[in-house]
Structure formats: structure tokens, C-alpha cells
């Protein structure tokens, strides 16, 4: 049974999405239940996958679609490959999907009136796409799955208001350019190697020793550009802030933590599996230094842009831009510590972004104001929500024992090991800026008086009095928040064993 786990993780939500569409608009509650069950099963299976991969019997699961054997050492069909890294990311993806479904119970009905089944179908398909991206070992299949995630996210974002539609359009343009660049890169690799399987491409490139070929270098550049566009690496980040900030809240909460992180994972895998350590880090090309500097720029710019925002969600989205810089920089440091740190940060950043986005969505919902003054006096009014928010924020700042501290620790270790001091400085700078951002909020939440919300935000609301309206949200929204903040702490406590698994896996990949 274990050997079928990878494909089952994908199939369960796929069928879930189909069932949701078949159920139709008349039964929104059943749509929710279906989605909950399918993602629950999927995350259970991925949990067992993690255990199976860790248990030592199977170092990595390989799954040949259609059972096609290899021919003369080449894969004929499409292959899935799940090692511990992939298993962890898949688990994170499905789990966040599951928890977000709990969160969306009341929000979906309220925010996408009448389109609930489409929302759940698209959401589950997005999860399918993300899991597929993480597990596949086929360069072209990766493209198809990237497009699946892109299309679902275009639609999910555009379900929001008119600003959301506009930002979704920008996302379409940027996303298409990114995915097409990736496709071009794959095409260049195909023309030189004649295969699409990631391992085989690496093998052929090694056999022919065509590392120095111009076309391979161009392929690498374009694949990187494509992946960076998708993950909103700094100069290519333009689409992200508006898209996530204006999307319906239950869309933003799970796309923000997942999309960019999965693409970072893809980048690490392309670097290590497809091209290999020698090619990427040889120092023979200038890109090593250059990309570190770009990531420094991303971190600094992302942090400063976040600092300049007064809109909570916008601020968080710019923080994502900075965090992407962390991970890209970490992956490019060229040592296992940095890579493992970047990978650990994928997990921890997913957890803390999820936590913060849920908290921010709850607060915007209750206060009816998305600016920072929404936080005035909230420690008294919504203590539970604020606890969740605080955990996420402390992790963002990087204080122990939250996972944010440990990922920063590993990344800084990697930076010092590699002698990239500019990267270390950027990380610290961003921590400080995050501290300013969040303590500014804490101060408001702690001391501030609840501001009288303007009437026009709630023209029909009978309890427009903020004192009455601002209260804790139902449990269906608080439980996800606490699960998320618990995960932030749990990842921090478990960091050592996690890091060891990651490190071992990466060492094997680097060898």
C-alpha cells in the first residue's frame, strides 16, 4: 500500500473537487464536508508518507505512472519521486489545505455568495497541483502542474472584488511569462538531452559533459527566471501584494503560505536534482554572488516596503516578498547549512504566514478596517485572536522558541559559513524591521482605545457599535488559528530532528 501513497495524495482531493462540482450550488454544507474529508484523508496519507519515508525501509518512494519501465536507462513515462523533503512539503501543503477548509466554513458562504462549490473545487485542485509539483520527477509534468496551480489561483483571486480582478489579471500576465520561461528552459534541456525526466536530464548532461554549453546556461537562467516570477522574487514580485491582499480572505489565507513556498522548493530541487551542485555552485559563473545580492535586495526592499504599508494584509504580503529573499539567498549560499536552512524556512514560513494571515483576516473581518489602527485595543477585545497573532509575529521577528528563530539561526549559520556577510546583515536588518512593524502593532493592540469605526463601512449593520461588534470569532475560525500558531511552536521545538532529516537528504542530493 505504501508505494501507492504518492498518487493517492493527489487523487483524493481531485475526486473531492469533482464531487463538489457534482454536488452543485444547492448544497454548500455538503461541499464543505466533502472538501474537509478529502483534504483530511489526503493529509493523513501524506503524514503516513512522511513516516514511511523516515522509517528507513524506504529512503524515497518512486512511483512510475502507468508502470512503464525504463528503457536503456531512460524513463519512458512520468515518474513521481518522494523523498523526505518532498514528503514534508506535501504534508505541509495538505495540512494547510485541510486547516484552511475548517477556517472557510463560514467565510466561503459570506464572501463568494452562491459560488461555494466552485471555491472548494478550485481550492482542492490547487492543493492537487501543489502536491503534484512537489512530487513529480518530470520536468514537463511540473509545467502542467504549475499551470494548474496558476489557473486555479487566477480564478480564486478574481472571485474577490474589482481590485482582486485587476490584480488577478496582472498575475495572469506575470504568471504566464513565468511559466512560459520555465517551459522554454525545459525545451532547451530537451533539445540537448532528449528526455524530460529530471534525473535523466542530469545524467545525460553529465555523460555528455555539456555543462558549459551556452544553451544549458540559458536554460538554467530561464528556468530560474520562471520560478522566480512564480515565487515573487524581488524585482519580479509586482503581482503578489495586491493579489493576496484583495483576494477573498479564505483564499488569501492559504495561497499566501503555500504558493511561494512550493516554488522555492521547486527552485531548490531544480538546482540540486536537475542541474546539480557542481554546475550551480561551481563559482565559474557570476550568478552565485549576484543572486545573493539580489536576495539581499529582496530582503531589504521587502522589509522596507512592508514597513511603509498601513494596510495589514498588504504589509504581510510584502513580508512574504522579504521571506522569499531569505529562502532564495539561503539556497544559493552553496553549503548544506544554507540549503537546509532555506528548506526549513519553507516549512516554518508556511506555518507563520498562515498563522498571520488567518489572524489578520479575522481582525479585518471583525473590526471592518484593514489599516493598522484596526488593532487598537484588541488585546482586551479579542485576546484569543491576538495570542495567535502574537505567536506568528514573534516568529516573523525571529524570537525563540518559535520556528522563525531557528530558521534564522540556520540561515545565518549558512551565511557565516559561506562568508556572505551581506546576506547575514540583510537577515538581521529584516528581523529588526519586522520587530518594528510588529511591536508597533502590539503597542496599539495593547494600549490603544478601540477607534470608532466609520459608519459607511457597515451601513446596514445593526450592531455598528464597535464595542459590541468587536468580539471573538466563532470556533471554526479560531481553531485553525490555534492549529497554525501551535505548529509554529511545534516546528520550533522539533527543529533539530527536522533539520537533521533535511540535512541528510540534502547531503545526498549534493553528493
Amino acid at each position: 500500500m505504501t508505494e501507492h501513497f504518492p498518487v493517492l495524495i493527489l487523487l483524493v482531493p481531485l475526486f473531492g473537487a469533482l464531487i463538489v462540482v457534482l454536488l452543485g450550488r444547492e448544497r454548500p454544507d455538503q461541499c464543505w464536508v466533502t472538501s474537509l474529508i478529502s483534504l483530511g484523508i489526503s493529509s493523513l496519507i501524506s503524514f503516513f508518507t512522511v513516516i514511511a519515508v523516515l522509517s528507513g525501509k524506504v529512503q524515497e518512494l518512486r512511483y512510475r505512472m502507468g508502470g512503464w519501465p525504463e528503457s536503456e536507462g531512460y524513463e519512458i513515462g512520468i515518474e513521481l519521486r518522494v523523498d523526505i523533503l518532498a514528503a514534508l512539503v506535501v504534508f505541509a501543503v495538505t495540512l494547510i489545505g485541510f486547516v484552511n477548509t475548517i477556517y472557510s466554513k463560514t467565510r466561503a458562504e459570506a464572501e463568494v455568495q452562491g459560488k461555494v462549490p466552485f471555491f472548494y473545487a478550485l481550492m482542492q485542485l490547487l492543493i492537487v497541483g501543489l502536491c503534484g509539483i512537489v512530487m513529480t520527477n518530470d520536468a514537463f509534468n511540473l509545467y502542467v502542474l504549475i499551470e494548474i496551480t496558476s489557473l486555479t489561483s487566477y480564478a480564486l483571486i478574481a472571485m474577490g472584488n474589482r481590485r482582486a480582478a485587476l490584480s488577478s489579471f496582472n498575475y495572469v500576465i506575470m504568471g504566464t511569462i513565468g511559466a512560459s520561461f520555465y517551459l522554454i528552459g525545459v525545451g532547451y534541456l530537451y533539445i540537448k538531452t532528449g528526455t524530460l525526466n529530471i534525473d535523466d536530464i542530469h545524467m545525460v548532461l553529465g555523460q555528455k559533459n555539456s555543462w558549459a554549453d551556452q544553451s544549458i546556461i540559458v536554460a538554467f537562467i530561464f528556468i530560474m527566471l520562471g520560478v522566480w516570477t512564480k515565487m515573487a522574487f524581488f524585482p519580479l514580485h509586482g503581482w503578489l501584494p495586491n493579489a493576496y491582499a484583495y483576494a477573498p480572505s479564505m483564499t488569501g489565507t492559504f495561497m499566501a503560505p503555500l504558493m511561494t513556498k512550493v516554488m522555492v522548493y521547486v527552485m531548490i530541487r531544480v538546482m540540486l536534482w536537475l542541474f546539480g551542485y557542481k554546475f550551480v555552485y561551481s563559482g565559474q559563473y557570476i550568478w552565485g554572488e549576484l543572486i545573493i545580492w539580489m536576495s539581499v535586495l529582496a530582503i531589504v526592499a521587502g522589509s522596507l516596503l512592508a514597513l511603509a504599508r498601513t494596510d495589514i494584509k498588504k504589509m504581510l504580503t510584502y513580508l512574504i516578498v522579504a521571506e522569499v529573499g531569505y529562502m532564495v539567498g539561503g539556497a544559493w549560499l552553496g553549503n548544506v547549512t544554507g540549503q537546509a536552512g532555506a528548506f526549513y524556512h519553507i516549512l516554518s514560513d508556511a506555518a507563520m504566514t498562515f498563522c498571520l494571515f488567518i489572524a489578520a483576516s479575522i481582525i479585518v473581518l471583525r473590526v471592518g478596517d484593514s489599516r493598522v489602527n484596526a488593532f487598537d485595543g484588541l488585546f482586551r477585545k479579542m485576546p484569543l485572536t491576538m495570542i495567535g497573532f502574537t505567536v506568528g509575529a514573534l516568529s516573523m521577528i525571529g524570537l525563540p522558541p518559535t520556528c522563525g528563530f531557528f530558521s534564522k539561526w540556520y540561515l545565518i549559520s549558512g551565511g557565516i559559513e559561506a562568508g556572505q556577510w551581506e546576506y547575514v546583515c540583510a537577515l538581521i536588518f529584516s528581523s529588526l524591521v519586522n520587530a518594528v512593524i510588529f511591536f508597533r502593532i502590539f503597542e496599539r493592540a495593547y494600549f490603544g482605545k478601540i477607534s470608532g469605526v466609520k459608519e459607511d463601512h457597515f451601513p446596514t449593520d445593526s450592531d455598528a457599535n464597535p464595542d459590541i461588534r468587536i468580539k471573538e470569532v466563532p470556533w471554526s475560525m479560531l481553531i485553525p488559528l490555534f492549529l497554525a500558531s501551535g505548529t509554529v511552536l511545534l516546528l520550533g521545538i522539533m527543529n533539530r530532528s527536522l533539520f537533521e532529516w533535511i540535512q541528510t537528504a540534502l547531503k545526498m542530493m549534493n553528493a
Binding site: E147, S150, L151, A155, R162, F169, I173, I177, S180, R371
Partner: protein, 155 residues
């Protein structure tokens, strides 16, 4: 013509003629996507852009001598079969004789079938989104939309 240019064309452009065309098409599309003000024009650029990539992939699979990648067992093979039947040749041997230079590489075609589908889907969705934008902003010109947003929306 300048001999240097001539040799350049002869050595670089002529043998890779298709690739040059694809790059030029792609640049046209990309330029439209980046700089055009009208959202529909951007989408037209996107379509050109994706088509260019399809051209590239299909060019990869072309062989000098080959036809479409469908095995034609009505022609030569039947003759072979007739000839071989007396020697009790099995179908296996016949298939072994498939001349792979006669058939174009099927893989790029398959890949591009997928890419076409993706392109259509993206275009359809993007058109839907631009309709929604038109519905709420009353225009498809990017600068006019941004102008409308400036005074009203914060940030």
C-alpha cells in the same frame, strides 16, 4: 552583402531558421504583454508568446526524412508481411523493422498538445477576468483603470 553578415546568416540563421523565427515571435508577444496599455492587447501578446513556444517545441521534433508519427501499416509493411509470410515471420520482426527516421519525434507533439490546451484555458480565464474588470471599471485601458483607482482606494 557584407561577407561577414553573409557567413553569419549562413552559419547561424539558416540552419536554425525556425529558432530565429520563434524568438522573434516570442519577443513580439512579450513586448506586447509588457508594454501594451489595453488589457486585450496584452492577451493577444500572450497568445503570440505561447504560440511561439509551440513553434519552438514542434521544431525540435522535425526530422529531414520523416512524416507524421503514425505508423502506416497499409503501405510498405503489408508488402513486407506478404514477403515474410512464407518464412513464418512473426509480427515481432516486422515491428523491429520500423525505421525510426521515417517518423517524426512524437514527444514534442504531445507536449504541445498540452501547451495548447493550457494556452486556451489561460486565455479563456484571462478573458473572463478582463470582462469582470470591464464590468466594474467600464474600461479596459490600464492607465484609465489606475486613474480611477487613485483617488478612491487607499494605497
Amino acid at each position: 552583402m557584407d561577407p561577414i553578415v553573409a557567413t553569419f546568416i549562413e552559419e547561424n540563421i539558416v540552419p536554425n531558421f525556425n529558432y530565429w523565427i520563434y524568438v522573434i515571435l516570442m519577443m513580439i508577444g512579450l513586448y506586447a504583454m509588457i508594454t501594451k496599455n489595453n488589457l486585450i492587447k496584452k492577451l493577444i501578446g500572450m497568445a503570440i508568446f505561447q504560440t511561439a513556444i509551440i513553434l519552438f517545441y514542434v521544431s525540435v521534433g522535425v526530422k529531414d526524412t520523416a512524416g507524421i508519427p503514425i505508423i502506416s501499416h497499409h503501405g510498405s509493411e503489408h508488402h513486407q508481411m506478404a514477403g515474410l509470410s512464407s518464412e513464418a515471420g512473426s509480427t515481432k520482426e516486422i515491428h523491429n523493422k520500423i525505421d525510426k527516421d521515417k517518423y517524426a519525434n512524437p514527444l514534442p507533439h504531445v507536449l504541445m498538445l498540452t501547451a495548447i490546451v493550457v494556452g486556451v484555458s489561460t486565455l479563456g480565464l484571462a478573458l473572463a477576468i478582463s470582462q469582470k474588470i470591464y464590468k466594474s471599471f467600464g474600461t479596459l485601458e490600464e492607465d484609465e483603470i489606475l486613474n480611477e483607482l487613485r483617488p478612491g482606494g487607499h494605497d
